[in-house]
Amino acid sequence: MLKIENLHARVEGKDILKGLSLTVNPGEVHAIMGPNGAGKSTLGNVLSGRDGYEVTEGSVIFEGRDLLALEPEERAAAGVFLAFQYPVEIPGVNNTYFLRAALNAQRKQRGEPELDSMQFLKLVREKLKIMQISDELLHRAVNEGFSGGEKKRNEIFQMAVLEPKLAILDETDSGLDIDALKQVAQGVNALRSAERSFLMITHYQRLLDYVEPDFVHVLADGRIVESGDKTLALKLEEHGYAWLSEANA
């Protein structure tokens, strides 16, 4: 599904990713862990097409297409979703209106018929039930005045409605208390399927207590330095990232 090879990227003239390679197959959940400054968020931003990230070497193939050649909206329509570390507040834009516009824009790009408001409402009701969140969020402006937990849950809710093939969760666990973390994890687990893959970028192991990954990778200094199963995360939790630099020294 996703094949990243020897990816190099720079931000503001500074090299951040320095030869990252990673393959994700359908249905797999990969956790990317690493210390601050390792390039975790840069990876998410490069994959979703944010301005200001310059890819200097390497390739990213998503479902047979050159992902890096696509505009952000084309990546979304192709099935890539980024759950933001800091979801943006957009005053004046109603959450429901925005989500329907986004879904229909994606469907249009894929040559699928757009949903009318009745069809969309039906879809939203189903997803609300799965996510166990109240419809009160829908009537507000996008993320405006949301608490940290509400913002993250709104990201997962958007993911549920947009049904991406690849979901990238950028530090979705950061800033959440344990109850909010459980709710977010429950949402993610509800969306796991044989066709949908996840890339969970996180600093801490605790999200992985609730969403069990198939693979854990350690990102340090712009490269994946260690890969393993979920026990790798536990080892990191116990010994800290310093253990890695010693092990690699």
Binding site: E71, V88, F98, A101, Q106
Partner: protein, 437 residues
């Protein structure tokens, strides 16, 4: 100070204006007022940018143009009446084409009790005396050039009166249609509107274009609200993209009267909108909301002047500006709380959005307070679309242009939120989105 008037084609085009036969010609007081205003206009010419009120709007190019004194064929242009329609609006309608009243396009047959509505051209023939006060004015400020020109040459317009206590249910729709004529025409329209004590009126002023033209329209409105009257005034300005439109509104509010103005400015190449509002009676309230959305090389200059002159008056003004491509927007909002107008509550917010590096917006809020126990707030900003928000929308699948339009419409939304007519609110929103490049 002004450009040397006589040599300007604009002024030269007025050579035969003194001999023009207009509705009401022959009334001694009107002839005198028209003549004196014309002479004053020709003597002073067009204001230049050294005149404070015209600092950001240069009239050099306009001064080089020559306009016909009127459109002789205005009564016979064919106009598509579908274009005049606004959703949910089906009450009385007055239509002017290139400044001339058109009975065939208007709807004046069955007026509700308490409403007097007729074109100025007819009122001047049948019953001119009540108009004497409004039409005899002289304008003395240098910046008042177009008020003089309008007073000198306006032969048509709207005369509207609502009797004391009458509450008019359906909005009165006044359309100004510009259409192609033989050459470029200058038309001048005068509206005299009065709401009696406790009267209530919804008024829609609608500017639109039927075929490409480069006319100049000037419009002067005197609106008086007697004690306790209520006015909802909606202005939808979608004039021809090459046209020039100069509007001047004067609004007097009596005790406990309330006026709400909602403005959407989309059209025109050169547009000037002056509003002089005076809160003359205790507890009068004025709400103004407005937005302009500019593209191409459009230039729109809005000048708001609100004077609080009585006890416990309130005014709230929320204006937004959006400028794309090479357009330029100007906003000046001046609030004066006069001596003795204690307990006034005045606020003014003007926020602007630049969508292009070549666009420009100048904004100047002003506040002068000479009274006690006054609550006043004002602020102005000029900014750009939030790049983070733009990326957020695109990452969810919205194409760039759609994401920009969505954010721009959201930026303008505060202006329409208070518009009571929901159908019209949606229409405003659609018209705004359609105008974005």
């Amino acid at each position: 100070m002004s450009q040397s008037p006589a040599s300007l084609p604009f002024i030269d085009g007025l050579r035969d204006a003194a001999g023009l036969r207009l509705p009401g010609s022959g009334l001694a007081w009107l002839d005198a007022a028209r003549r004196e205003n014309l002479e004053a206009f020709i003597a002073a010419g067009l204001p230049d940018t050294r005149t404070e009120a015209w600092k950001y709007t240069a009239l050099r190019a306009l001064g080089q143009r020559r306009f016909a004194l009127g459109d002789a064929a205005a009564a016979s242009h064919s106009i598509d009446t579908h274009a005049l329609k606004l959703p949910g609006v089906d009450g009385p309608r007055l239509v002017f084409v290139n400044g001339v009243f058109r009975a065939d396009l208007s709807r004046l047959e069955t007026l509700p009790p308490g409403l007097t509505l007729q074109p100025l051209s007819q009122a001047l023939e049948s019953d001119p005396e009540p108009l004497r006060f409004a039409l005899s004015r002289h304008y003395r400020e240098t910046g008042d050039a177009f008020a003089r020109l309008n007073a000198a040459l306006a032969g048509d317009g709207t005369v509207l009166r609502v009797a004391a206590g009458a509450r008019i249910a359906k909005p009165v729709h006044i359309c100004f249609v510009g259409t192609a004529a033989q050459g470029d025409v200058a038309w001048h329209v005068r509206n005299v509107i009065e709401l009696g004590e406790g009267a209530k009126l919804d008024l829609i002023e609608h500017h639109l274009s039927s075929a490409p033209h480069k006319h100049l329209g000037t419009l002067a409105s005197d609106i008086v609200l007697q004690n306790g009257a209520q006015l909802q005034h909606v202005l939808l300005q979608n004039a021809g993209e090459d046209s020039s439109l100069i509007r001047r509104g004067s609004l007097h509010l009596g005790a406990r009267s309330q006026a709400a103005l909602h403005v959407l400015e989309l059209g025109g190449a050169l547009v000037r909108h002056d509003l002089h509002a005076e809160l003359r009676g205790d507890e009068a309230r004025l709400d103004t909301r407005g937005v302009f959305v500019l593209r191409g090389r459009q230039h729109i200059d809005t000048q708001l002047s609100i004077r609080h002159q009585a006890l416990n008056t309130a005014s709230e003004s929320i204006w937004r500006g959006v400028a794309d491509e090479r357009s330029r927007g100007v906003f000046r909002g001046a609030i004066v709380v006069a001596e003795g107008a204690d307990g006034a509550d005045a606020s003014l917010s003007n926020k602007n959005l630049l969508l292009s590096a070549l666009a420009e917006i100048d904004t100047k809020p002003e506040l002068e307070i000479y009274a006690d126990e006054v609550k006043a707030a004002h602020g102005a900003t000029v900014g750009q679309l939030d790049e983070r928000a733009l990326f957020y929308l695109r990452s969810r699948g919205l194409p760039q242009a759609e994401a920009r339009a969505l954010l721009t419409a959201a930026f303008c939304r505060a202006v329409f939120a208070t518009l009571p007519n929901e159908t019209l609110r949606d229409h405003f929103s659609d018209a705004l989105l359609a105008h974005l490049p």
